[in-house]
């Protein structure tokens, strides 16, 4: 009797589980239907339309988005913007999106740990935003394209499929390079190195005083370093070849030069404790090394100033910022331009309104609001309006450094192969000595081979 009872209970539980499965399927089915309905409805009626914006809360804070949406609502009657801003935006909007409920606009850059933006790019799940470029900025009489600094919408990040169409719009940009304590350099009478040879010489000098030449927050921060270095060793052409996984590109003398340099920098000149804190919870301890005069240089972006604003620092500390040193005297120096992106999912209900909103983001009014918190958009003439530290940072391209943009090309997802892990994360192992340069390069070649076949 007991057995029969327990069997019956088990059966009932299994059935109820199955029932759950069905109902959720139905539910998601109806959501897609209803979303189609709203699409047709919303375009025909003049009622208040709701635009759903999801944005990652970054060092610039969440309030700036509230201010922007309020200004947009004021400028565009009949539109209400519903914002979701969170430091873990992927986890907040992810479950909804799996059941078919997509925000209209998402402000989230590529290169984040959870890779949500990359996932949408890889899955061809984005709305084409090319026509935003020819839209007139609301309240002004110029087109978006004319306001943007040239080059920003020609990169492999904004045009991931290499078909001349823009799917992700560039937002806040920041030059990246090496950050250091200018106060320390003045105090010691050291010169900021302009070539790598000078860099090594300085490294030896600093070592004698118990200061390491180099530290990095997390291995992922090597992306800007590596991209700029690829440009230095072989120019833009070589960079494009390397980032599109061209066969044999990693065995060229140019690539070898870049690998040799990084190996030398990491295995000999990097502060040994860095890998212990090189994770997303402790990376500020690595940044602290610069503020405490325990290491000279770190690769970073301009946001680091805000990020470390409340951290204790050595006496006389002053932020300094330089592009990557040149390979030889008089050679090109590069600073990689990091920028965030804003994009529209393919299944957004109000794609047209979303485009209007994005065009508005490039208006002088919006740019001024963003600039207040230090967020600088790639709008012509913006960098001249800056002051303080930012003025120094954004003038790097005026003082001779060339700009590098782009990233590893988009591919279809390849299971178990992740190029940025292979290239950047392994750098931890170079520092600890767990991997040799040869292991590292072989890993990159193998990953490149796997990804080449999956190129978009």
């Amino acid at each position: 009797m007991k057995k029969i009872l327990s069997l019956a209970i088990t059966a009932a539980l299994t059935l109820s589980l199955a029932a759950c499965g069905n109902s959720s399927e139905n539910a998601s089915g109806t959501t897609t239907n209803s979303s189609n309905n709203t699409k047709t409805n919303s375009t025909s009626t003049t009622e208040t339309r709701t635009l759903k914006l999801a944005a990652l809360e970054t060092a610039y804070g969440a309030d700036v988005w509230k201010e922007i949406t309020a200004a947009f609502e004021k400028a565009t009657p009949g539109v209400k913007v519903e914002t979701t801003i969170d430091k873990n935006i992927e986890d907040v909007i992810g479950p909804g999106m799996k059941s078919g409920d997509f925000p209209d606009i998402i402000h989230l850059a590529v290169g984040q740990q959870k890779g949500l933006t990359e996932t949408f790019v890889k899955d061809n799940n984005l709305t084409d935003l090319t026509d935003v470029l020819s839209m007139t900025v609301p309240g002004e009489d110029v087109t978006v394209k004319d306001k943007l600094i040239p080059g920003f919408t020609d990169t492999s990040i904004t045009n991931p499929y290499n078909d001349g169409k823009t799917y992700l719009m560039p937002m806040f940009y920041s030059p990246t390079g090496l950050f250091f304590n200018e106060g320390l350099f003045e105090e010691k009478g050291w010169k900021v190195p302009e070539t790598w040879d000078e860099m090594w010489a300085l490294g030896d000098k600093a070592k004698a005083e118990g200061i390491a030449l180099f530290a990095y927050p997390m291995p992922g921060y090597f992306d800007s370093f590596f991209y700029a270095l690829l440009n230095e060793v072989g120019g833009a052409d070589f960079f494009n070849k390397a980032t599109s996984y061209t066969e044999g590109v990693w065995e060229t003398p140019e690539a070898k030069q870049a690998f040799d340099l990084i190996t030398k920098l990491t295995s000999t000149y990097t502060e040994k404790t860095v890998p212990a804190n090189a994770n997303k919870d402790n990376f500020t301890k690595n940044q602290q090394l610069i503020l405490d005069n325990k290491a000279l240089f770190m690769p970073n972006g301009t946001w680091v100033v805000g990020e470390m604003s409340k951290a204790p620092r050595a006496e006389g500390f002053k932020w300094g910022f330089t592009a990557l040193p040149a390979l030889k005297e008089g050679g090109d120096r590069y600073s990689y331009t990091f920028f965030e992106q804003i994009w529209v999912p393919a299944k957004a209900e109000n794609a047209d309104l979303a485009k209007q909103f994005i065009a508005y983001l490039y208006s002088d009014e919006a740019a001024a609001i963003f600039a207040k918190v230090g967020a600088v958009q790639p709008i012509k003439g913006m960098s001249e309006k800056l002051d303080g530290d930012n003025k120094l940072f954004y003038s790097i391209y005026d003082s001779g450094a060339k700009a590098a943009m782009g990233a590893f090309a988009t591919t279809d997802p390849v299971e178990g192969v992740n190029i940025s892990d292979t290239v950047f994360r392994s750098i931890d192992s170079l520092v600890t000595g767990a991997k040799s340069q040869e292991d590292w390069v072989n890993g990159i070649i193998k990953a490149s081979d796997a990804l080449r076949a999956a190129m978009k």
Partner: protein
């Protein structure tokens, strides 16, 4: 595909065949198994020891100790990770500062979370600290049920404390021990993910990547949802099988008292 699209491609068992050829997966497998073994053995031994000390011996401040041992269990993993990140810090951490007393003040700091050979053990240390209290309470509950008369008569027959522990306590809480062994497997797999995410992000260079962190990484960061789910299936089968085996080998005749 990444899980946010309706496009589907049927790949049969391709995800599994790729999985079995992946070096990275074997590395995560190794790390997970290592954690399961270390955490289970050490936690089990310490929890049993503390439980029997707290139930059998007359110690001063017994109740206070019970509370102290249980506290880690009510802390959130994020808090524990923050505590241990501070303890393991190479320059200003508690552990290195303490070791300086023996190793000399000029000694190179030990990179508890930065050395690929050590980091998994550091992680295990944090996990053990967190788990002991919970299992201790479970063992104490069943030890308290063992009639005092058994120990008394054993004492009269001349059995020492060790003999009493192995001949009376362990056999009489055996069913409880078997249950907790299954718990150990499940919770180590689950908790290791949380600890890895908050303490090392799988680093340095994948040295602490465990089952679930790798699954998460593939499913989300690498946009391979199906592959991630394949890892999930393997993890399920593995933990199910392991629990089954443990259950089978620990089967003993049920003792009544």
């Amino acid at each position: 595909m990444g899980g946010y699209t309706d496009n589907k491609t049927f790949v049969g068992f391709q995800n599994f065949s790729k999985l079995f050829q992946s070096e990275k997966f074997y590395q995560t497998f190794q790390n997970s198994v290592l954690l399961i073994v270390i955490v289970t053995i050490v936690t089990f031994a310490l929890a049993l020891l503390f439980a029997s000390m707290l139930t059998r011996e007359k110690l001063k401040g017994q109740n206070f100790l019970r509370v102290v041992f249980y506290i880690p269990n009510i802390l959130s993993v994020v808090v524990i990770s923050a505590i241990f990140s501070a303890i393991f810090d190479p320059n200003s951490g508690l552990l290195n500062a303490f070791l300086k007393l023996f190793r000399g003040f000029q000694a190179e700091p030990i990179l508890w979370l930065g050395d690929q050979k050590i980091v998994i053990f550091s992680l295990a240390g944090a996990m053990i600290w967190q788990a002991i209290g919970y299992y201790m309470v479970m063992y104490m509950a069943s030890m308290a049920n063992i009639p005092e008369s058994l120990y008394e008569s054993a004492g009269l027959e001349g059995a020492g404390r060790m003999t009493q522990f192995f001949q009376i306590t362990i056999p009489l809480i055996w069913t409880n021990i078997r249950t907790t062994l299954t718990f150990f497997i499940i919770s180590t797999i689950n908790m290791s993910f949380l600890f890895v995410m908050t303490m090392t992000s799988g680093g340095p260079d994948g040295a602490t990547e465990v089952f679930l962190s790798y699954m998460y990484k593939e499913a989300y960061t690498n946009s391979s949802y199906g592959y991630g789910m394949a890892i999930g299936v393997i993890v399920f089968l593995f933990s199910f099988a392991l629990a089954g085996i443990l259950n089978a080998v620990t089967r003993r005749e049920h003792l009544e008292y």
